[in-house]
Symmetry: C2
Subunit: 282 residues, 2 copies
């Protein structure tokens, strides 16, 4: 695995393979890798000739007061994991390399970026759109892989990649969970042992929704009440949102008679966790 920190070098190295017809696969990450990331890398390895992973904690997608400064890092462990996973290139640029003069350019996506994390984290998806556009333009992959834990992010990325005619296929991969159901996240490291227990309320609430649906319940307000009460019963939790939305538009659904996504953002202690589940309704 070759580690590259410069944009120009990245272009040169990868171009060699592109121009002999090799398929380039790309997994953008913020590092502090876990099994969720590795599932993307594995899929990328299967589907492409050359696998590029980036590690870049992107300042423009963090808001004031968020955890940019303390976002966890372990470059040594990340490098080992990626090496073992058969990655060809690790692109790990500095913030100066990515934003030498900041950015005068903003990319905004309307519709799917409204609501949910778009409301809770103003400017977050603009920051994501900017850095993903930059990375896709630098790596120019045939396919890029993103986890579905960040479901809204995935929809935003698919939207602007289509709108801007970017020549990359965006692949969403299923959420990877710990044995007890907690969605894997680099931010799980922030949780103390009590919080770690409470954090199970997100994934466990999905079972309650299944039960309610199977019991014939179609009222959003009823099921929402069940979920919110369940989460609130767990110590140290504070609900940011618990929304039942259309899986395509991410607009709130009126009832639960068709497919819907339950999207959750819950503070557990000071840590903001997200999770979601797609419910297929007969």
């Amino acid at each position: 695995m070759k580690i590259i920190t410069k944009i120009s070098e990245s272009r040169e190295e990868i171009n060699i393979f592109r121009c002999v017809g090799k398929r380039i696969g790309f997994v953008p990450t913020m590092g502090y890798l876990h099994e969720g990331h590795l599932s993307l890398v594995k899929k990328c390895r299967e589907e492409n000739d050359i696998v590029v992973v980036s590690i870049f904690v992107n300042p423009t997608q963090f808001g004031a007061g968020e955890d940019f400064e303390r976002y966890p890092k372990d470059m040594k462990n990340d490098t080992d994991m990626l090496q073992k996973a058969g990655v060809d290139f690790l692109f790990a640029p500095s913030a100066e390399e990515m934003y030498p003069t900041g950015s005068s350019t903003t990319i905004s996506v309307s519709g799917v970026s409204d609501g949910l994390c778009g409301s809770s984290r103003p400017g977050h998806f603009d920051g994501v759109a900017l850095v993903v556009t930059k990375l896709l333009n630098i790596i120019m992959p045939n396919k890029a892989y993103f986890g579905m834990k960040d479901y809204q992010q995935l929809q935003v990325i698919k939207r602007f990649v289509t709108d801007l005619n970017m020549n990359t296929k965006i692949i969403g991969m299923p959420i990877v969970r710990e044995a007890d159901g907690l969605a894997m996240s680099s931010r799980n490291v922030y949780l103390n042992s009590e919080e770690r227990k409470s954090a199970l309320c997100l994934s466990r609430s999905f079972a309650l929704v299944h039960e309610a649906i199977e019991g014939g319940e179609t009222e959003v307000s009823e099921v929402k009440h069940i979920v919110e009460s369940f989460i609130k019963d767990h110590p140290h939790t504070r609900i940011d949102y618990a929304q039942f939305v259309d899986p395509e538009t991410l607009k709130p659904v009126k009832d639960l008679s068709r497919d819907f996504l339950l999207a959750l953002a819950v503070y557990v202690g000071k840590t903001r966790l997200i999770d979601n589940n797609l419910f297929k309704v007969m």
Copy 2:
């Protein structure tokens, strides 16, 4: 010259040449071509192996009440001109091909897009940024060529191409003028014979500025007054703006002791004309 109307076909055709190392040059236009466009095509022909020209009257860069509906068209003549100029591919997509579902994505450039046409035509540069990004992502040229008559547009494009790490070099080419000095523009066809005479006030005002500067004048307000009075003395004219700006930032300059750009937008009858001149001060 091959005429292509579909994005997928354009990708396929051009990819063949890209992947054998051919240099791809691109000239995006809105058609109704004149010698200004041809100067771009000529330079593009000189500097590249494959020359792609697009003709697309982009709806998203026109404001309400502007001339989108009546923008002049002459596909037959355009095609003949491009054929003679040695163009390899003419990309002429429909609006449906370019915007099958509209666009949820907006690209905005702060700084250089403020003021001048950015003030007079709200949303114009967002529309330009969107369509140029789409076209560059479709054609993926090594170099793309733009005229300096649209000086602010050129600065906006250079800015977002840099910010987004797009892999295309943006080349600005000098304004091409009629024998009497009028800057070539597809919109000149709107002018009746009286307006055509009045339209000379734009380019002729540059000589007055030269005179004033050589006479030692450095006060913006003085020279601006000379220019505005001169333009107003011509029948059917209405000044949109006459601004003395920094050639890089496009912010108004405080005095005329350093290099500056005089940027003009003047209605002649109902036709809005723009022109500009870079003044190099010793």
